[in-house]
Amino acid sequence: MSPALAEGPPADVLAALADPTRWEVLRLLGEAGEGTATTLAASLPVSRVAVTKHLGVLDRAGLVGARKVGREVRYRVDPRPLRDAGRRLDALAEAWDARLGRLKALAEAAEG
């Protein structure tokens, strides 16, 4: 058990995901495999400029990767930070399961 100093989930990743439009951008990219600010803006209720800004945030958090093809910048999802964040949140949840299991055992033993 590593209670007090478990490594927290990456705040930058969670913060980048904490926006409905960015979440939608990721979902669209995940489904299409690849996309540009223009193609994404066509499926979203926001401007191309706004999409570009969101892509910048996702990029800095490592959630998407960009590559230039001619004059286009194409983005795709990098699943590693998502997986890592999920794993780390999961580990913290398991630590709580262990603690709460001990709490329950103690409460029920004391009642018996």
């Binding site: 058990m1 590593s2 209670p3 007090a4 100093l5 478990a6 490594e7 927290g8 989930p9 990456p10 705040a11 930058d12 969670l14 913060a15 980048a16 995901l17 904490a18 926006d19 409905p20 979440w23 990721l26 979902r27 995940g30 945030v57 800095r60 958090a61 999802v77 699943p79 998502l82 997986r83 964040a85 999920g86 949140l89 999961d90 913290l92 949840a93 709580w96 399961d97 603690r99 709460l100 001990r102 709490l103 329950k104 103690l106 409460a107 029920e108 004391a110 009642e111």
Partner: protein, 151 residues
């Protein structure tokens, strides 16, 4: 969307008063939570200090005390300041809620605030532009999504 919360619920076959005592009295908390001991000042702003043999001591500060119903504290459990007093940008909020279920108690645990922990760049500031407070969903969705995009 993804939540920055951990949520757990379980039914304990004991009255809420009993569960409350186990969560708020140091002699109990020092066994199921810390393994060396705990020091608790049961009032808002009071100490919730936990000690582990292996790791040492963490300092929590109590936020809510509603006897037999709701208890919460903040701690810097993650990152470099985990031994220090909780502060904004480094702490998460841990909330216990108790609800009687006949002779048993439904215990709900929520730990929140992971997304507002300080990062070394401007992402957080940008992320919290706009209406992003109060978002919530399932952790499972994140993992499921991660698996899907990885495939």
């Amino acid at each position: 969307m993804v939540a920055d919360v951990i949520e757990r619920e379980l039914v304990i076959e004991a009255p809420a008063e009993r569960v409350w005592a186990l969560i708020t009295e140091s002699e109990h908390v020092g066994t199921w939570f810390g393994d060396v001991g705990a020091e608790i000042e049961l009032r808002p702003g009071g100490l919730y200090r936990l000690t582990w043999k292996e790791h040492g001591t963490s300092i929590g500060r109590i936020v809510t005390v509603e006897p037999h119903t709701r208890f919460s504290y903040r701690w810097n459990a993650y990152g470099p300041k985990w031994r220090e007093e909780p502060e904004d940008g480094y702490s998460t909020l841990v909330e216990f809620t108790l609800e009687p279920r006949g002779s048993a108690t439904l215990l709900r645990l929520v730990e929140s605030g992971f997304a507002s922990l300080v990062t070394d760049d401007d992402i957080r500031t940008t992320a919290f532009d706009g209406n992003v407070r109060g978002w919530a969903a399932e952790l499972g969705e994140l993992q499921e999504y991660a698996t899907r995009v990885a495939a």
